[in-house]
């Protein structure tokens, strides 16, 4: 039977690995931030392909 300490550690590590959901403010801030980053990148000559490959942005297939 594992010790109580081990149990505590296991629970703690599970909790810390759980991704905290974004608050509404964080969501809209992220939307606006992403919009701004993409806009500035495009206006500085970065291609959509680079935005996908290097920066991990996704675009709908058109």
């Amino acid at each position: 039977m594992p010790s109580t300490d081990t149990k505590k550690k296991t629970i703690r590590s599970k909790r810390s690995s759980k991704v905290k959901p974004m608050t509404k403010v964080e969501m809209f801030q992220k939307m606006l931030d992403d919009q701004k980053i993409i806009r500035e990148a495009i206006q500085n000559g970065i291609t959509f392909q680079e935005l996908k490959d290097k920066y991990g942005y996704k675009f709908a297939t058109v």
């Binding site: 939307m31 392909q49 675009f59 709908a60």
Partner: protein, 165 residues
């Protein structure tokens, strides 16, 4: 397609974006980004069909002067085509980086506020609200024949509902 629209000729740079140039030589890029991450509590059939639409100047030094109705017609055509699949929904969140988000919101809403052209197939729901000291202007566009129409409107209204204080 209705005949009263006079969109600019636009190009589709598959698979990512649209581009058009106005009569005054201003180039725009239009694109859609997935918004599923903001609708995680809904089934994938709904969450994965939400997209943001953005329209950007290709060159920030070349800005449009005055009102050019054909830009609106072009955007209506592009967004209308995207929604024609009847499975996607588009959320527009007004850029607030220059303090002109309210003007931007009014303009965008007016573009889709016409009858007798393709936008009449599109339902427009708008909601603006306070979040963390910011006033956020948003709009949802969805095809009237989208089979998840009511769920998508409810999901959008839930997303844009002011948080309880």
């Amino acid at each position: 397609m209705a005949t009263n629209l006079q969109p600019y000729k636009f190009y589709i740079f598959k698979p990512d974006y649209y581009s058009f140039v106005t009569a005054s030589g201003v180039e725009y890029f239009g694109y859609f980004t997935p918004y599923g991450e903001y609708f995680k509590k809904y089934p994938a059939a709904i969450s994965s069909k939400f997209y943001a639409f953005n329209l950007e100047l290709a060159n920030k030094k070349l800005k449009p002067k005055g009102t050019d109705r054909r830009i609106a017609d072009t955007v209506i055509t592009i967004v209308g085509d995207f929604l024609e699949s009847k499975i996607n929904a588009v959320v527009y969140v007004c850029d607030n980086s220059d303090g002109r988000e309210a003007v931007r919101s009014r303009k965008f809403l007016s573009w889709f506020d016409y009858y007798e052209h393709p936008s009449s197939k599109i339902i427009q729901v708008s909601n603006d609200f306070q979040a963390g000291g910011l006033h956020i202007y948003t709009c949802l566009l969805v095809h009237k024949k989208n089979k998840h129409l009511s769920e998508m409107i409810l999901a959008y209204l839930d997303l844009t509902k002011e948080e309880d204080k």
